[in-house]
Symmetry: C2
Subunit: 479 residues, 2 copies
């Protein structure tokens, strides 16, 4: 049986039956990680998410430097029933790493010493607190690349990426984290250190438990080390942009790109006409096309041979124009032009944020419904709001943004239930890559069967029997 569609987003939360922090607890933590790494003051950077929309409170932030210190802390917290929220780079978009009541914050930022690349196999083992861009920088020297790339790469940590199930802009080419993760070290909610998986590309000697940590949002434990396959750094990166008159043409162009660009297609991003106008209105960036169009597609290729890739991309653009699927099209001829194209896409969220009070969504939809959500939302809201759509069309992942001139309580109450019910009733997901956290907590059971909810609750019980880790978020407790 599936849960019926929800009508309202309001649930009042009450604090769980967790222990309050005492001074003897703080002394224990100080003995464990050193007093400089038990922070009790000036911790706003930790208690507030980076969008500044969610703010919790906490008695202390603990910053262990190792798996073992993490284990000591969690053993203690399990015994004392102290609630803990795990925080990596604090770049999440759903408040998953932000405390709600008085959970202590366990930051993985100092677990960042070990980095070992096995060059012959392309297998990387690294501490979970290492920042994504730093890992990628170290790999570049050896001709390798992190398979995932996202806006937050300069701050997000690899352990956080795993826990968030991060997607990003080249999932189309390299696949999700499930394609790359081989193993990890997890400190579970009892403080037990468990090595899940290993460092081999093939190993069928046990359940593939490491994959349970992807998208687990700290519910099962603290990831302290990650082993994953990395990919050869592409020798050629090319980029083109097309202007398109209808969504159905966008879909036909996606098919054409799949067949013409094949194995080198790495990004297929959509920006709708309203979003492009919004970008031009609020930011000092010009559309690369002189005329306005209804849709823009940004296509990138990653390959090992620049001549071959260039031929493929030119053929694709020519065929797109020749078949009148695209109204206009341009390939980037310099790094500057490529940067310009990507800025239009990557600064779309920034432009939308400048456009007024903002309501952000991150949904997955079957492709036939991908853009209908935008159209239906526009129809529903009429002149009450502006609706923007951009996203990873190649992955069916739409970032819908709605803005109003000021905060509109009425609209706030209506909008999320409308969008989420529409998405679920059209076979979509209410969170493609951002997760549930606290922002989508009230919708976490939407479209899920009782059996699945019961299963994930039991699985959490195996890893975290006292349910001290990241309460009030993705996995329902017995409440």
């Amino acid at each position: 049986m599936r849960s019926s569609l929800i009508r309202s987003a309001t649930t009042s939360l009450t604090r769980g039956n967790f222990a309050k922090i005492s001074s003897s607890d703080l002394s224990f933590f100080e003995r464990t990680v050193g007093s400089s790494y038990v922070k009790t003051k000036d911790i706003d950077n930790y208690t507030c998410d980076w969008t500044k929309q969610m703010k919790g409170s906490s008695k202390c932030v603990l910053i262990p430097s190792s798996t073992e210190e993490t284990s000591t802390i969690l053993k203690y917290c399990a015994e004392k029933r102290i609630a803990v929220v795990v925080q990596a780079g604090n770049t999440g978009l759903v408040g998953g790493a932000t405390p709600l009541f008085d959970e202590i914050i366990l930051s993985t930022s100092r677990i960042n010493n070990n980095f070992h690349l096995e060059e012959s196999s392309g297998v990387l083992t690294l501490d979970a607190g290492i920042i994504l861009a730093d890992a990628d920088y170290l790999l570049a020297e050896k001709g390798f690349m992190m398979p995932l790339d996202l806006g937050a790469k300069g701050s997000c940590q690899i352990g956080g990426c795993i826990a968030a199930g991060a997607g990003g802009i080249r999932l189309l080419r390299y696949g999700s984290l499930h394609s790359h993760l081989l193993g990890c070290t997890l400190v579970d909610g009892k403080g037990t250190i468990i090595k899940l998986g290993g460092s081999l590309r093939k190993d069928n000697t046990s359940l593939h438990t490491a994959h349970l940590t992807i998208g687990s949002e700290g519910q099962l434990g603290v990831i302290t080390s990650v082993t994953m396959g990395v990919v050869p750094r592409p020798i050629s990166i090319l980029c083109a942009m097309l202007a398109v008159s209808s969504y159905s043409h966008c879909l036909r162009l996606l098919s054409l790109a799949r067949s013409k660009l094949g194995e080198i297609l790495s990004s297929f991003e959509l920006i709708d006409g309203e979003t492009m106008k919004c970008v031009e209105r609020h930011l000092p960036i010009k559309n690369i096309f002189n005329e306005p169009h209804d849709f823009y597609l940004l296509i990138e290729t990653h390959g090992s041979n620049g001549d071959h890739d260039g031929e493929k991309l030119n053929e694709f653009v020519e065929e797109a124009l020749g078949a009148e699927l695209a109204e206009d099209g341009v390939a980037a001829h310099s790094e500057n032009e490529r940067t310009h194209m990507w800025r239009l896409r990557e600064e779309s969220p920034i432009a939308a944020a400048k456009d007024g009070y903002i309501y952000k969504f991150d949904v997955s939809l079957p492709l036939e419904h991908f853009y209908r959500l935008t159209e239906e939302t526009r129809k529903k809201l009429g002149t009450r709001a502006r609706v923007y759509c951009y996203g990873h069309l190649g992955d069916g992942n739409s970032h819908l943004n709605v803005t109003t001139d000021g905060e509109d309580e009425e609209l706030k109450k209506e909008l999320s239930p409308f969008v989420y019910n529409w998405v679920v009733s059209h076979g979509g997901s209410i969170s493609a890559e951002h997760g549930i956290g606290q922002l989508k907590r009230d919708y976490r059971s939407l479209g899920k069967s009782e059996e699945e909810i019961s299963l994930i609750r039991s699985l959490k019980g195996v890893f975290d029997p006292h349910r001290i880790l990241c309460p009030y978020k993705m996995i329902p407790s017995q409440e």
Copy 2:
């Protein structure tokens, strides 16, 4: 703490405390699936594995036609504490689908009606009993391909592939099943039907539980439906073979292939000189090189543009010869030549089986140790046995084969402990793609920590609390 290396492979098994099948049980099963699908006679094809090395007994084979019938059976068996072994195409190599004592056999062969491809996204939902080659044939019409390919494709079922964590010959290019699986329907050991995951390429609204079924060997439940991403069918498939004088050159050629062939490299297979001689000795196939060599590499590319792929492959072969990394090299110029090359590799196991009494291994190793295992085994066994090595070098997966003129009890006792201890102490896996089943049961804890074993035992308890599914195999019970 890791389990210490084992010394002997002998464990005497006793039957678990399961119910014996009564005539009223059989009547219930007949009412559930129809009397034609409760087989009690002439069931040797089910009680014996296809290698004919493992033979169990069973009172009956049940062949349900749907998820619902499977659920009814498992609910009943859970209540009555009847042990069940799940069987798909019965092509496994470790006896995982073969009963030991008197477990009933639940075959998924009739759960094979539904096949739905969503063309715009390349997402396929199909019943678990559909045969891999049939699925691939249906996809071919639409320009898509199953990402995995293996020798048993004409008989193995897709649900069995997931449960086995099947690898195969193009994992290097398309990745493991974790890269493709999006969701599945599982009937757990309580008979509960659970939809795990979904049909979207991105969905972060729950734990990614579907991935737990990969390589689960029937321990968690019966997979009845699978949803996965499929890949565009390559337009160009090219093949080349190199003759090489040393293993270190093989490794340098793997690096060269990664950089020259990049995104189109789909197979990088090794056959050692002894294996090639064995093939020529026992089978009517000729080596494609006139002179014998110490190593042969078979390289295949899958791409979207034949001209580009051909240029890349030629450049690679020329550089391999020019740098004297290869002693000889030839690209296939016809489908016949390509078939010839692949027969040399695919019939290596057949030749080894004809060479005498055979001991087969399927191990993963870090690449620097990949071939050392063969050398060390040869050194240890001297003239007592012949040692052959072939396998998926690109994945670090070696199929080591040892043959003797007749069955040698002494060697039988020594060999597996020697190989498995060597593999584990060199950072490898004792089962790269075949699994544990009953064949490797006595080695299942080798190199695993107590914490991991305890975890997988608890996870099994969540799905199958009465531990009726596939007993005596991968996951230790409390015994």
